[in-house]
């Protein structure tokens, strides 16, 4: 057997020393040489950088009433590893059981989220207090589950401002990739973030968004916060508020005045061009979009034949109809085709031009009318005759000066330019020489190929009222960039003044009497534009007071019938509310 001096003892001792030597050397290597490396890794283990979402700026009306703000809502989120190959782990299974979620549907939904690169899966988007409490009490047995509180957009008035404010929606994969390219360390957008998708939310995205921050949290191995004070590495700043030119009470009044009929109406303050109210109907609840609209809701919005998503104020074009007679009259006066007292052949309900009869809207005929009376009673036959003394180009020039045929420059996407055709346009449309001066007759009464947007008609009305060639609309109050200084219209003041007075008569004794108010003189023009697809569109454009205009107003009711009967009362209803709001005592009209 071995003895202390014998070989086996010494070998055994040597082997033990060698093993302990290697271990000790390795310990020195780990704990001294590589100490810093492992300290950093230990810190990495414990410290988790977390993004602090900056709330979006609020959207206010012109008087500071909040239209869009944020509410903090808690989502219940899971680590991506909670769903592996379509199989829920114990955390997910437990939560589905406790919350009574349908396992099949839930797994399906989460698997869909796994396809994106979002860091967490959203199990419950807007958790109730009971759901939150259940989670927080049981965090220990729910590794991978967490609460994610973040600001959600809330539209206080739902559908009322939909087409102006728009909505926010989730960013696309492309936008996330692009923002990563721009700033890899701290991209503006990560998967699941939202940004403005329509309206002012998009137009003012940069201002509203604010600056996200980040904090460093201490967590344990399950990623659960351990209650140390978080360290702020980047301060979050809320986005700035954006103030609209619109007024919430006036918007509500306009919506009430429209009584839900499809069409739109817009009211501009004079001389500023501030849009006081703008309603496009039908509309939709923008709150649907903030949490990610369901595909059924989206499909039903898209498939709705009344096109609720369409912002009719700037995106829809209509034949202008009789309000265009303002353009024809003004053009005739300016170009010497007619004076204020001009008379033509009396109106017998129709007018023979070549081998075609052009009808007056009043089939019984207006009889013998002078220029002013023709505008007041909207006699088509008068305009068929006066327009023959004008060229297409002359009317067109007048129309363009009043803001038709070109975008008004409001920042909404998809603004239509409308059409004020010239000879080249007709050549293009019908072929050279394949059209006659007959198109002029249609042009004269705002029919034919003419197309305008409601906002253009509002600009036209405002320009007539003010004589300001640069008058244009604004939706955002702090928008100083595009406020042009006033410049006179290229028309004689006397002619403009005559048009204004005649428009007052339209409301006083003519087709627009239903817009007459007791306390305020209203100057306007009705229109019943023929609609090849159905009932006539009912137009009414006006400004008030006639002598000292403060507001321009335009309304169109799609397939609404007669402008005088249907559209003018809408204007009256809104104008009463408007003038009451600015302190004018309104009597019964």
């Amino acid at each position: 057997m071995a003895r202390p001096t014998q070989l086996p003892t010494r070998i055994y001792r040597g082997v033990v020393w060698l093993a302990f030597g290697i271990i000790a050397a390795n310990l020195v290597y780990l704990q001294v040489v590589k100490q810093q490396h492992f300290k950093d890794q230990a810190t990495d283990n414990v410290e988790v950088s977390q993004r602090v979402r900056a709330p979006r700026g609020n959207i206010l009306d012109r008087d500071g009433i909040v239209l869009a703000d944020n509410v903090f809502r808690s989502s219940i989120v899971l680590k991506r590893s909670c769903l592996k190959d379509g199989v829920p782990d114990s955390t997910l299974s437990r939560l589905m059981d406790w919350y009574g979620l349908d396992p099949e549907e839930t797994v399906d939904r989460l698997a869909h989220q796994l396809d994106s690169d979002r860091p967490k899966l959203v199990l419950v988007a807007d958790a109730s207090m009971a759901q939150i409490a259940l989670l927080e009490e049981n965090l220990r047995v729910l590794p991978g589950a967490a609460l994610d509180a973040r600001p959600w957009r809330r539209y206080r008035h739902g559908a009322l401002f939909a087409h102006v404010i728009g909505y926010t929606g989730e960013v696309t994969a492309d936008e996330v990739a692009e923002s990563r390219r721009q700033n890899a360390d701290f991209p503006t957008f990560l998967s699941g973030f939202t940004r403005g998708r329509e309206g002012v939310e998009t137009i003012r995205e940069d201002v509203l968004r604010g600056q996200d921050g980040s904090i460093i949290l201490a967590v344990d191995a399950n990623g659960i916060e351990v209650g140390r004070e978080p360290r702020v590495t980047r301060t979050a700043r809320q986005g700035q508020d954006v103030r609209l030119t619109l007024s919430a009470p006036l918007q509500e009044a306009l919506s009430d005045a429209m009584a839900g009929r499809p069409g739109c109406a817009v009211a501009l303050a004079l001389p500023s061009g501030d849009v006081l109210a703008a309603v496009s109907l039908p509309t939709y609840d923008t709150n649907l979009f903030t949490r990610g609209i369901s595909s059924e809701d989206w499909q039903s919005l898209l498939g709705d034949g009344d096109h609720p998503l369409l912002n009719r104020i700037v995106q829809a074009t209509y034949p202008p109809g009789s309000p265009y007679k303002i353009v024809t009259s003004l053009s005739a006066l300016e170009n010497g085709a007619a004076v204020r007292s001009s008379r033509f052949d009396p109106c017998l309900g129709g007018y023979q031009f070549g081998n075609r009869v052009f009808h007056c809207w009043n089939r019984n005929g207006h009889g013998n009318l002078n220029h002013g009376e023709a505008l007041v009673h909207s006699c088509d036959v008068f305009y068929y005759q006066v327009v023959q003394l004008l060229t297409l180009e002359q009317i067109r020039k007048t129309a363009l000066a009043l803001g038709l045929g070109a975008r008004t420059g409001v920042p909404f996407h998809g603004e239509a330019a409308g059409i004020v055709p010239d000879g080249a346009w007709y050549d293009d449309r019908f072929g050279p020489r394949r059209w006659t001066r007959g198109v002029l007759l249609n042009n004269a009464i705002g029919q034919g190929e003419l197309l305008v947007t409601p906002i253009q008609m509002a600009v036209l009305t405002g320009r007539i009222a003010l004589g300001d060639a640069n008058f244009s609309p604004h939706f955002i109050l702090d928008d100083q960039r595009i406020r042009a200084t006033p410049a006179p219209l290229p028309f004689r003041e006397a002619n403009l003044d005559w048009v204004r007075k005649t428009m007052h008569q339209v409301v006083d004794i003519g087709t627009g009497v239903k817009a007459r108010l007791e306390a305020v003189d209203v100057a306007g023009k009705t229109g019943t534009s023929q609609n090849p697809h159905g009932e006539d569109h009912a137009w009414f454009v006006c400004f008030a007071p006639a002598k000292d205009p403060q507001v321009a107003f335009v309304v169109i009711l799609e397939q609404g019938g007669s402008g005088g009967a249907e559209a003018a009362p809408v204007a009256a209803r809104w104008l009463i509310d408007y003038f009451e709001s600015v302190g004018t005592r309104m009597g019964e009209s």
Partner: protein
């Protein structure tokens, strides 16, 4: 010649002192492990709760009883009863395979009321006794082949049973005990080399094939090294041929063996060679353990302050990976200090083994020393990333009753042998 054991000679007093130190050290670390992190408002992991500390305190009290009993028991009683104990042990190991509930893919425990009994732990004691008895009977005759063959057979049966549970760590402990006893009994280095070199060949072949993805040059280099050693040592042609053949078989056989391993075993071994690849799976424990130890530095994060321990990044921190907690909180000072205590224990055990004049006593002592050496070296190597992860507690330190009682009992036997060094 002393026949009575008074248990108080200078040789053995040191072992008592070491035992007290280990018990206190273990309790101190377990207290910290069950504390959670300082400044946190919540208990981090209810699995590692204070009750673990108090339970281990009870085990330590029982351990003292085991130690005192073992240090006083007449050793020839054990020698006589070893064969019977061996049969009971085999029976228990078979029974556990047949009846024990499957926990995490393996059958290791009997449930006896509130207690969980792991027969593979006392099996270590029985194996040491039976090997000591087998080898000691033939010392006088100078014959080696018979006891060695018997020893191998006696070890392989329980080893195979434990491997079937499966419990790789414990089966390796059996092998280590056998190797220690065989070596102590007397073995030429050529035989040792012959026995070990195919194993080394297997590891290198595996490394070439799996980790370097089929580059055979390290294995080729190793074979040439073996040839060179044989040439320098002037071994005979046939002997050399057989050895080289064994090496080649070992190298090729490893791939066949590999295919027979379970998935998690394969992952553990692969993760040892490439922990980064298995960061979140099998390599997680190894990486987290190294982070904890490395971040401790020279003096540690101070007692109770370890974040990796406190925040539960360290798996099995109260059992197999308790050394990592020592490393994190007490630094190099703590790890070297603890290793030093174990080194003193092993060296003292070695001198007891070589001083013992009765072959049974000496072989018993070396078996015990081999047990402690293997447990300590392999456990610490695992926690420091030198060896692949396999379940093996650190004696006296890790939480767990079975191993603590067995370690205490074995230390008691070592003290017993030490106090009878003149017994023949």
């Amino acid at each position: 010649m002393r026949t009575r054991n008074d248990g108080a000679s200078s040789d053995t007093i040191l072992l008592y002192v070491l035992y007290v130190l280990f018990c206190l050290f273990s309790l101190m670390i377990l207290w910290s492990v069950t504390e959670g992190i300082q400044g946190s408002y919540q208990q981090v992991d209810p699995v590692v709760s204070k009750s673990i500390f108090w339970r281990q305190a009870v085990w330590i009290l029982l351990g003292w009883v085991a130690l005192l009993m073992a240090s006083r028991v007449p050793l020839h009683w054990l020698e006589v009863s070893a064969p019977l104990a061996y049969l009971v042990m085999i029976g228990a190991l078979v029974l556990v395979l047949l009846t024990a509930p499957e926990v995490a893919g393996s059958r290791r425990w009997f449930a006896l009321g509130p207690l969980r009994l792991q027969p593979s732990e006392p099996a270590k004691v029985v194996l040491i006794l039976v090997l000591a008895k087998t080898f000691s009977r033939h010392v006088a005759h100078g014959r080696r082949l018979l006891p060695q063959t018997a020893g191998w057979l006696l070890t392989m049966i329980p080893l195979a049973l434990v491997l079937k549970e499966p419990d790789l760590g414990t089966s390796l402990v059996f092998a280590a005990i056998l190797l220690g006893v065989v070596f102590w009994h007397g073995l030429s280095w050529v035989i040792l080399l012959s026995a070990l070199s195919p194993l080394v060949s297997a590891v290198i072949s595996f490394y070439s094939d799996r980790v370097l993805e089929g580059q055979p040059w390290p294995w080729g280099l190793y074979l040439m090294l073996v040839l060179a050693i044989l040439f320098v040592a002037r071994r005979g042609l046939i002997e050399s041929f057989l050895l080289v053949l064994a090496n080649i078989v070992g190298g090729i056989g490893t791939n066949i063996f590999w295919a027979g391993l379970k998935g998690y075993q394969q992952a553990r071994i692969l993760s040892f060679f490439q922990p980064e690849k298995f960061q979140h799976d099998a390599g997680y424990q190894a990486i987290q353990s190294k982070i904890a130890i490395g971040s401790g530095g020279l003096f540690g994060t101070h007692y109770l302050q370890g974040t990796q321990k406190g925040l539960a990044f360290l798996p099995e921190r109260h059992t197999d990976f308790i050394f990592s907690v020592v490393g994190e909180e007490l630094g190099l000072l703590g790890t070297i200090g603890l290793l030093g205590l174990f080194l003193i224990l092993i060296m003292r055990g070695l001198s007891i083994a070589s001083a013992a004049r009765k072959p049974f006593n000496s072989l018993l002592a070396i078996g015990i020393v081999s047990y402690f050496t293997f447990h300590v070296v392999v456990n610490v190597s695992i926690t420091t990333g030198l060896l692949p992860v396999t379940g093996l507690p650190l004696p006296f330190m890790s939480y767990g009753g079975s191993n603590f009682l067995v370690s205490s009992f074995l230390l008691g036997l070592l003290i017993n042998v030490g106090s009878r060094s003149f017994e023949k």
